[in-house]
């Protein structure tokens, strides 16, 4: 009984220990377990010692061995078995239990074998568990990767099962539709993300896919989808049919194409806008083209220029291949200008009603013709062009057809009603332009006529002087300017030369020239000095003609008897003097202000001598001024051109114009006046108008010639007086006869002066008092006087031999 109690206590200790280890095994360190197991071995060994040699008790070691094999690696378990063997061996040795070997083998061997088997079993179980865990891990990884791929896909990825229920729903789908994966999976797609109107179509497609033979990959649909918030969008679904484990699934990507559509729309809108802008620009261009037409139409130019300009612009505005303007005149059309086409060699005027333009003119309505035949056009100008489409529009001014505007296109252009409308607009402007040009041309002609009428149509015959002048109007399109010149024989024999330039153009300038010219002539004929004449002109200009006007002027008075010149320069370019044996030089200095700039300027009067043989050249700035060039360069050319050139005034003028005025005219009017003091020769002849005013000129010439002949002052005076008597008679004869000029011829034979005064009037016998006195004067003053009346007129020959030398 006592032994049993001891055993129970020991076994209880061992049981408590075992229980402790069992419960705490997870939290005990390995060495603590070893100690606990070893302690168990010791307790059981003591228990066996108490219980004596009963063969059954050593079986209790099985507990220890099983624990050791469970908790420790096999070799450590075997170490505990060895410890058990050692402990029990010692017990058997000390206590001398019967058949110790058998007992030891039974007590140690049996649990060892059981332990080893359990250990093997455990090892296999562990290995299998690890493998399973590995597989599970790999699966998890794979799934995560797929999930990641699907979730990172920009497009929604949805898989449906055969019933149309959602089985896969990726992150993009969450974002796109607003449903989480948890919410979406397991629900039917049709109800979740399709608007009601798309559902039947979806079902139909799904059925078709499911029923179709075999698998499907990447079929695309455009579908209207619905988001969680009810908004819809256009999506593109790319759907496949796959079989997994005998089940059919429909995986598909859904791509939101609303952005793409929006961009597409934007692009389309942009294209539309661009088209609209292009249209607007085209219209703007057209409008500016029209404006150009108006500008061209209103330009101050000749009809020819304006027509060819307009036709070019009309062609540009319409974008046509060719354009022509026909001008109407008395029921006929003539081709004014054409652009684009080749101008036919010869063109006959086209009567109204004949040919395409003629029909337009007759109908007074726009006409359009497609693929016209040459017969239909009936106009070589058009027929030559090989046209596919033609529009003709009448040009109408104040109810009259003034012309026809025709534009032509070749393939593939076809004119439409829009083109007709545009051409009508253009035609209005062209008609305006033509009208304007015609009015302008008329005005231009009037101004030109006026201008021409103001210039001397022929220069006076100036005995002993040669004078020539040229006036070139500016190139055709420019207006008539205010250039003018004049040559004024002043009673007493002097000659006035004028070269002037009134600022401004056109009619106003021309009429200003008219006033200046008559005023200057009046002042000059009154015999005022040049400075006085110019001063009076300025006063007139300032007070009468308006302060806004300005004019430059050179007024030169030459006394042919001795070549003395007095002159005034009111702001004009300097005259050029060509003296004998000297290079040409400008007469600088004495340049006063132009007329019309100050009320009381002082005009400086200068003088010089124009020797026999020398020339004076006056001109306007149009001769030397060129756009973009320095006027000094132009001036510098004059001496060069006339350097060793011709001597006669008309040749001087022609040479200047020839070298300085470009082909087609200068940009401004050009006036040139040249005068030469012709050296006296032994012979002279001059014609004078049969007016008393001519007498002084004749005397002036005669004095010069007699000075040339070395006559003394007295001889000169007497011969001049005698010739004056003959000339006075000649004027009287002409007055009765009809106004023909009389001639004075002078010849010098050695020292004998031989002068003939011839008239073509009716001879009258000298009256007793006056004319008789004239004849007797002649006879008294000359060596010989022969009067020869003929049926044509009277000739008086006066001769006298000179004695002294005049010292000239």
């Amino acid at each position: 009984m006592v032994k049993d109690l001891q055993l129970v206590v020991l076994a209880g200790c061992a049981g408590l220990l075992a229980a402790y280890v069992y419960w705490r095994a997870e939290r005990l360190a390995l060495w603590e377990l070893h100690v606990a197991v070893a302690l168990g071995t010791v307790v059981l060994t003591f228990a066996n010692d108490f219980m004596g040699p009963a063969a059954l008790y050593p079986v209790l070691y099985t507990w220890i061995v099983l624990y050791a094999f469970y908790f420790f690696e096999t070799r450590w378990a075997l170490a505990h078995v060895a410890f058990i063997g050692l402990s029990y061996g010692l017990l058997l040795g000390f206590e001398h239990h019967p058949s110790p070997v058998t007992r030891w083998l039974l007590a140690v061997g049996t649990p060892t074998v059981v332990g080893l088997l359990i250990s093997r079993l455990l090892a296999r179980l562990r290995a299998e568990g690890a493998q399973a865990e590995q597989r599970a891990y790999e699966l998890r990884q794979s799934e995560a990767r797929t999930r990641l791929v699907l979730d990172s896909a920009p497009d929604a990825f949805i898989t449906l099962d055969a019933d149309g229920l959602i089985v896969t729903w990726n992150a993009a789908a969450e974002r796109l539709f607003g449903w989480t994966t948890a919410e979406a999976v397991g629900r039917p797609m049709r109800a979740l993300i399709l608007p009601a109107e798309s559902r039947d179509r979806h079902d139909q497609r799904r059925r078709e896919l499911m029923e179709s033979e075999g698998l499907v990959s990447g079929r695309m649909f455009e579908v209207e989808f619905q988001r969680r918030d009810g908004s819809t969008f256009a999506g593109e679904a790319t759907v496949s049919k796959v079989e997994i484990g005998g089940e059919l699934f429909l995986p598909g990507f859904i791509h939101d194409i609303s952005e793409r559509q929006r961009r597409q729309e934007e692009r389309e809108a942009l294209l539309r806008e661009q088209a609209a802008r292009a249209e607007a620009e085209r219209v703007a261009e057209m409008v500016s083209g029209m404006q150009l037409l108006v500008d061209a139409a209103l330009a101050h130019r000749t009809l020819d220029d304006i027509v060819s300009d307009l036709v070019t612009r009309v062609r540009a505005v319409l974008g046509a291949d060719a354009a022509s303007i026909y001008l109407a005149n008395d029921g006929y059309l003539t081709l004014g200008a054409t652009s684009g086409g080749s101008r036919p060699d010869s063109l006959h005027p086209l009567p109204f009603g004949v040919g395409f333009p003629g029909r337009v003119a007759e109908s007074r309505e726009p006409l359009v013709a497609h693929d016209p035949t040459p017969e239909e056009l009936a106009d070589p100008a058009l027929a030559k062009l090989n046209l596919d489409s033609v529009i003709g529009v009448p040009l109408i001014t104040e109810g009259d057809v003034t012309g026809v505007l025709v534009v032509c296109a070749t393939e593939p252009r076809r004119f439409g009603s829009e083109d007709v409308g545009l051409l009508r607009l253009a035609a209005d402007r062209v008609a305006l332009g033509l009208d304007h040009a015609r009015v302008y041309e008329r005005e231009h002609r009037i101004a030109e006529t006026l201008q021409r009428s103001l210039l001397p149509d022929h220069l006076p015959e100036l005995p002993g002087l040669a004078v020539a002048a040229r006036y070139l109007p500016a190139a055709a399109e420019a207006e008539v300017g205010g250039d003018w010149y004049d040559v004024i024989p002043i009673p007493g024999g002097n000659v006035g030369l004028v070269m002037g330039d009134v600022a401004g153009k056109g009619l106003a300038a021309a009429s200003m020239v008219g006033q200046l010219r008559s005023a200057l002539r009046a002042y000059a004929l009154e015999g005022h000095q040049p400075a006085q004449v110019v001063d009076q002109l300025n006063r007139l200009f300032w007070t009468e003609l308006g302060e806004s006007q300005m004019a430059t002027l050179i007024y030169v008075v030459l006394d042919p008897a001795d070549g003395s010149v007095r002159w005034v320069n009111a702001g004009h370019l300097p005259p050029l003097m060509l003296a004998n044996e000297q290079s040409p030089r400008f007469l600088e200095g004495g340049r006063s202000v132009p007329l019309g700039v100050m009320p009381f300027p002082s005009f400086e009067e200068l003088s010089f001598r124009l020797d026999p043989g020398a020339s004076l050249v006056l001109y306007t700035d149009g001769l030397v001024e060129r756009p973009g060039a320095n006027i000094d360069d132009g001036l510098a050319q004059l001496p060069r051109i006339l350097g060793d050139g011709p001597v006669s005034p008309s040749e001087l003028c022609d040479k200047l114009l020839g070298e300085l005025v470009p082909e087609g005219g200068a940009p401004d009017d050009v006036a040139v006046l040249a005068l030469r003091n012709v050296p006296m020769a032994d012979r002279f002849s001059a014609e004078f108008p049969p007016q008393p005013e001519a007498l002084s000129s004749m005397r002036s010439l005669l004095r010069r010639w007699l000075r040339h002949a070395d006559g003394t002052d007295q001889e000169i005076a007497e011969i001049t007086t005698a010739c004056g008597e003959a000339a006075t008679n000649a004027i009287e004869h002409a007055g009765a006869g009809g106004g023909a000029a009389f001639e004075v011829l002078g010849r010098l034979h050695g020292r004998e002066v031989d002068i003939t005064v011839r008239d073509y009037g009716a001879w009258r016998a000298p009256r007793e008092d006056d004319q008789g006195r004239g004849l007797s004067l002649m006879q008294a003053l000359m060596d010989s006087v022969e009067v020869t009346p003929t049926h044509e007129g009277t000739s008086v020959r006066l001769r006298r031999t000179l004695n002294g030398s005049g010292g000239a």
């Binding site: 009673p491 004929l525 007295q714 007086t721 004056g724 006056d770 004067l777």
Partner: protein
């Protein structure tokens, strides 16, 4: 009046002096004669035509001068002409024996003196 010829008249006491300058031909002669005659009031004693400044005279000028002399004489007024001898004008006056109609003096002073002494 033509600007070839220029006329200035002055009255000195009972004298009228007509200074004529320029050139006297048919273009100015008749007008000048009337002008001079009109400038001579009937009250004055004499007319002196001063040709000192005249450069040229022809037969129409002479005719004018003869006519003027006649009209002045008809009013019983004296007339003298001043023209420097040797000059072209005096030469012409000499040729036509103008001194038959009126005395010709070299200078104005002698003409005035002549009238005063007459």
């Amino acid at each position: 009046m033509d600007d070839l010829i220029k006329l200035d008249t002055e009255q000195r006491g009972d004298l009228v002096i007509a200074h004529v300058s320029g050139e006297l031909d048919v273009s100015g002669a008749s007008g000048l004669g009337d002008q001079i005659f009109d400038s001579v009031p009937t009250s004055v004693h004499a007319l002196i035509v001063d040709f000192s400044g005249l450069e040229f005279i022809d037969s129409s000028g002479i005719a004018m001068l003869f006519g003027l002399a006649r009209k002045v004489a008809a009013r019983r007024q004296e007339m003298r002409v001043v023209a420097k001898s040797g000059e072209p004008v005096a030469r012409v006056l000499d040729l036509v024996d103008f001194d038959r109609a009126a005395a010709i003096h070299d200078d104005l002073d002698s003409a005035i003196a002549d009238i005063a002494s007459a």
